[in-house]
Symmetry: C3
Subunit: 193 residues, 3 copies
């Protein structure tokens, strides 16, 4: 062994120790970044109850689910109309009855956001979709459920409007804003529709 090699070997324990320390720091930083990193997840707030906007929400949701994302749709306020199968008046306060009577009683009677003309706009949009073989909203809701899209009714909105379980379609969850945020904060894409 020559002198150079001996010096090289003498430095070995220090170099290893330095490596171990650097690696420990990297592992800690990586763990933090992993915690901040988004999951394969998409979260949508469906606030609107307009047929055109709701269709856009379901196109995004089913598309994302087909691409392997975990998808959550939070239906709140006017968006709750999408999840209704019926309007019931018993057990509602005066204001809740008024709200129910003026709201669509199911996804089939959603208005459009522009040019609604007392419901004609919604019918035209549905006719155009049928002519072009675009799935109907009801077909998209079924497809979303088949693809494992979580459909969640906003608890506060339900409580405010007095909407009973029996007024809603099957296979839903109910949750609050905290649950929405837990999903949204870990999502690659979140949208308010």
């Amino acid at each position: 062994m020559g002198a150079t090699l001996e010096i090289e070997f003498a430095a070995v324990p220090d170099r290893i120790q330095a490596l171990e320390e650097r690696l420990r720091k990297v592992e800690n930083r990586l763990a933090y970044v992993e915690g901040q990193s988004a999951e394969d997840r998409v979260t949508l707030v469906v606030f609107s109850g307009d047929l055109d906007r709701v269709l856009a929400a379901f196109l995004i949701a089913t598309g994302a689910a087909a691409m392997g994302q975990q998808v959550s749709m939070f239906f709140t306020f006017w968006g709750l109309s999408v999840l209704k199968k019926d309007n019931q008046l018993s057990g509602k306060t005066f204001f809740q009855k008024m709200m129910a009577l003026m709201s669509p009683d199911s996804s089939k009677s959603l208005p459009v956001s522009k040019m609604n003309y007392l419901g004609v706009g919604g019918k035209i949009l549905r006719s155009m979709m049928k002519q072009k073989n675009v799935s109907s909203l009801e077909e998209m809701i079924s497809l979303a459920q088949e693809l494992g899209v979580r459909m969640i009714a906003c608890e506060m909105s339900r409580d405010l409007m007095g909407i009973a379980d029996s007024e809603l379609i099957d296979g839903l969850e109910s949750a609050g804003v905290g649950s929405f945020l837990a999903d949204s904060l870990n999502s690659r894409t979140s949208m308010f529709i």
Copy 2:
């Protein structure tokens, strides 16, 4: 020392050097990922001045702040009505006066996005919230400020509409789209409401 062990030791300096180089690359990649990684931050654009949509914005903002997120709300266009305490006409151009006269003069007179019926819709929504002990919009604005939610008035909208400081509630910042983007690009969730 046997022959195998000697060979093992001879490889040590090369293995250490290889490790050092790999670790250097990992550190560089990690620094880049850290730069791209979102902070614990939520950024909302409040474009709408409709009571129902604004309430949704404040529920998300206060919920996120309570969960430890840094929250920024950028109020722009119709959303500026939320921040007004008064309409003043002096110092405004003709169009700005028209705009002011047709806009709500404070958060208390915001319309709802659907079924407004000349203001009745907003009153009904407020009554329903009161019956159900949901915080009023004004309580939510206070809560947001207590929780450290940054409320920012869009400079360009203010300038366009000629809105003076004295027309706005206290504790606000004013900033432009660059400031909004700086927050939004580093946020885990950004929404346009």
Copy 3:
């Protein structure tokens, strides 16, 4: 060499092997995080065809592009009106003709979302912007194209409404929801406007 130093050297191959294994794990975790990490990218869905909302979309898009982000704007449904230079009726079905006749024939005739008053609102907003030297929508569209903002017309909406290439301004792409999601999932900010 003393006894301690010899023991220290004896541990070297094990310590190096341990380091190599830890580093391999870190590299794998880092590669995963890199895959989840957002690019310098902003993706906007322009669903609305209202002048006020569309202006907000272009302010965000051009601002983000100026800050070095890759920006994609997906124009869908009412938002397609922004990209039109003309309405043509030939080759359209009955419903598509009705839709075309009731929609703006270019970005110059977009309504505003509130206080439109049969088009007066849009004219007032444009006058206010001119007085304050804010770029017009058409100037912002040009600026966006100069800054390399990708403007994409939603294929399904085009097909539904029967919109031909000759009805749209130059320099556009057409794509579906999958293409939108591919961009959005890798974006630091995505918004539905």
